[in-house]
């Protein structure tokens, strides 16, 4: 009996320890990102981060302004969102409300397949197929533009948006739709005026989680946006995102240098952005669960 009791306690303790690991990892991430980035704030100083040029390797004067990187990430993310949201939401509405059973059974796993494609494979496809296409269509000198990156990112955000939005639309109580139809509304009117508004918080959460994925995406963006660190809001310009900067430059910086610390600062900014988006998305999701 005592042996059983002892086993009971040991099992519980071990399992609890395992569950606490996630918390530990999050804390360690904060600690180590902080540890490697904070020295930058005293030397060369946090004001350096707000300069308008990122030129970390220079004989005259190194510049660590993250504004161009921030604008790069913003342009690509905004464009990707503008493309992905209508596509994702329309497809979610179609799959949830209009599609035949066969279509749904076939397309849902197929679209989830897209979520499983490695980003480097999508980036490679973009490089070989999409970059020449963008160059040709817009008569540019190079197809490595913010728009090219945004198109690939939209493709990567779409499965997330569809998956969560479709769930939200399908969980709208049937009685809502029946009431609307009984009042003489058409199917389209019911979808547009009743179902989608009722599922709006779920759709919003899906969109935000999709955007979270877009901001953090590294490889595909690095391969097709050209990586020019300039402040621009034109979709047909080459841009450099925060993620691509870290990935491209971290391999070559000396440990402990200002450049090394600056890259960790960029990591912290990324972490804050994605954490914020995540928290808001969770809040919205929770609201919709209670509402449904």
């Amino acid at each position: 009996m005592t042996r059983t009791l002892w086993q009971e306690k040991a099992a519980r303790l071990l399992l609890q320890g395992a569950a606490l690991t996630s918390l530990l990892i999050v804390l360690l991430i904060v600690v180590f990102l902080g540890k490697e980035s904070l020295p930058f704030l005293s030397k060369p100083g946090w004001m350096e981060l707000f300069r308008t040029r990122w030129n970390p390797v220079s004989f005259e004067r190194e510049m660590f302004g993250i504004l161009p990187l921030l604008s790069g990430s913003l342009v690509v993310t905004l464009l990707a969102t503008v493309i992905a949201v209508p596509f994702g939401v329309c497809a979610a509405v179609y799959l949830a409300e209009v599609a035949t059973v066969a279509e749904r059974e076939l397309f849902k796993p197929f679209i989830e397949l897209l979520a499983g494609l490695p980003s480097v494979v999508i980036g490679f496809f973009g490089l070989v197929v999409l970059v020449p296409l963008v160059k040709q269509v817009f008569h540019l000198q190079t197809g490595l533009t913010a728009l090219t990156g945004a198109l690939l990112l939209a493709l990567m955000a779409i499965p997330t948006i569809i998956s969560i939005s479709e769930d939200a639309i399908r969980s709208v109580p049937l009685s809502y739709k029946e009431a609307s139809l009984a009042l003489g509304a058409s199917r389209l009117q019911t979808i547009w005026k009743v179902t989608v508004p009722a599922a709006l918080s779920g759709i919003t959460a899906g969109v935000m989680l999709g955007i979270g994925r877009v901001i953090g995406e590294t490889m595909a963006v690095m391969m097709v946006t050209g990586n020019a660190a300039v402040i621009t809001f034109s979709p047909l310009q080459s841009v450099r995102t925060m993620t691509a900067t870290i990935a491209a430059e971290m391999g070559e910086v000396p440990f402990g240098s200002a450049h090394y610390r600056a890259l960790f600062c960029v990591g912290v900014v990324l972490l804050i952005f994605t954490f914020g988006l995540n928290i808001i998305a969770q809040r919205v999701l929770k609201k919709y669960r209670i509402g449904a």
């Binding site: 490695p118 980036g123 590294t218």
Partner: protein, 283 residues
């Protein structure tokens, strides 16, 4: 009548959008299979790379990725499953549980490149593992942990409450109940989620970029402290870093196809496990 045709038109637009998405996915997969199939050969799969990877095979690259995936599974699978058992079977609704859940959600949303920075700071530099299989696997394990936990917990929750009550009523302790009457029914579902997580680990580039991946290292690893080449990073190198990228196109497509087969194969395995298990257990 015009309202009817308007509705039909609107549905057509929705249908068109959905089919466009499906076609684009199909085209990506087709493009890589079509162009990559010609490169796939016994020589390509089992040969050593030559001239920075522009010729020869990709054996060490495949072995490297398999090592990383295996290391990730060894670390993340027991941790994730155990954590899920605690959350689903033991945890009470209190502040600690809510904090753990918040941590899991947060972890799931952190960009992969930030995991790379974290792995570099903690495993490579602070713990002095260097750029190694060990550091890379641990970094990937941290990244896929939330996926395993969430999927495993879902599988545990799908086991009917009566299974637990029956066992407890017969005098079994809680751990005995979990071991004998809950886990056997939940493990297939837990594995499904874990396979998906492994697929994600196999395809990720950003975390291994800073913690393990070698640019060009045409030999097989001997210990967990060795650097290795890996499929996703190798594809990136071949596609962007070699002097004449167009000449090595067949190598690029071949590598992309091997990676695609590995990742999609894992996803397919997960789907098959899930459907089999759904047929076996119905309650």
């Amino acid at each position: 009548m015009s309202q009817r045709s308007g509705e039909a038109r609107a549905f057509w637009v929705l249908r068109l959008v959905t089919y466009t998405i499906v076609l684009v996915i199909g085209y990506i997969v087709f493009d890589i299979v079509y162009h990559g199939a010609g490169t796939l050969s016994w020589e390509f799969l089992t040969g050593m790379p030559r001239k920075s990877g522009s010729e020869g095979g990709i054996l060490p690259v495949i072995v490297g990725t398999l090592c990383l995936v295996l290391g990730t599974v060894i670390v993340a699978l027991p941790l994730g499953m155990a954590g899920a058992i605690y959350l689903s079977e033991y945890a009470k609704q209190n502040r600690l549980t809510r904090t753990i859940r918040l941590a899991i959600v947060t972890l799931a949303g952190i960009p992969s490149i930030v995991f790379g920075l974290f792995g570099l700071g903690l495993f490579v530099i602070f713990l002095k593992f260097g750029a190694s299989i060990l550091a890379g696997s641990l970094t990937l394990a941290c990244m896929v942990l939330p996926i395993i936990i969430v999927a495993s917990e879902e599988a545990l929750r799908a086991v009917p409450q009566s299974f637990r009550e029956g066992s407890l009523a017969l005098g079994a302790t809680q751990w005995q109940t979990i071991r004998k009457n809950v886990l056997p029914y939940a493990v297939p579902g837990m594995l499904t989620g874990s396979i998906l997580a492994v697929g994600r680990a196999a395809g990720e580039t950003a975390p291994i970029l800073l913690t393990v991946a070698a640019f060009y290292l045409p030999k097989l690893p001997k210990s967990i402290f060795d650097q290795v080449m890996a499929l996703p990073y190798h594809l990136y190198i071949l596609a962007t870093q070699l002097p004449d990228v167009n000449k090595v196109r067949p190598m690029q497509y071949g590598t992309a196809l091997v990676l695609l087969i590995l990742v999609l194969g894992l996803n397919l395995a997960a789907i098959i496990v899930r459907s089999r298990y759904r047929k076996k257990y119905r309650w």
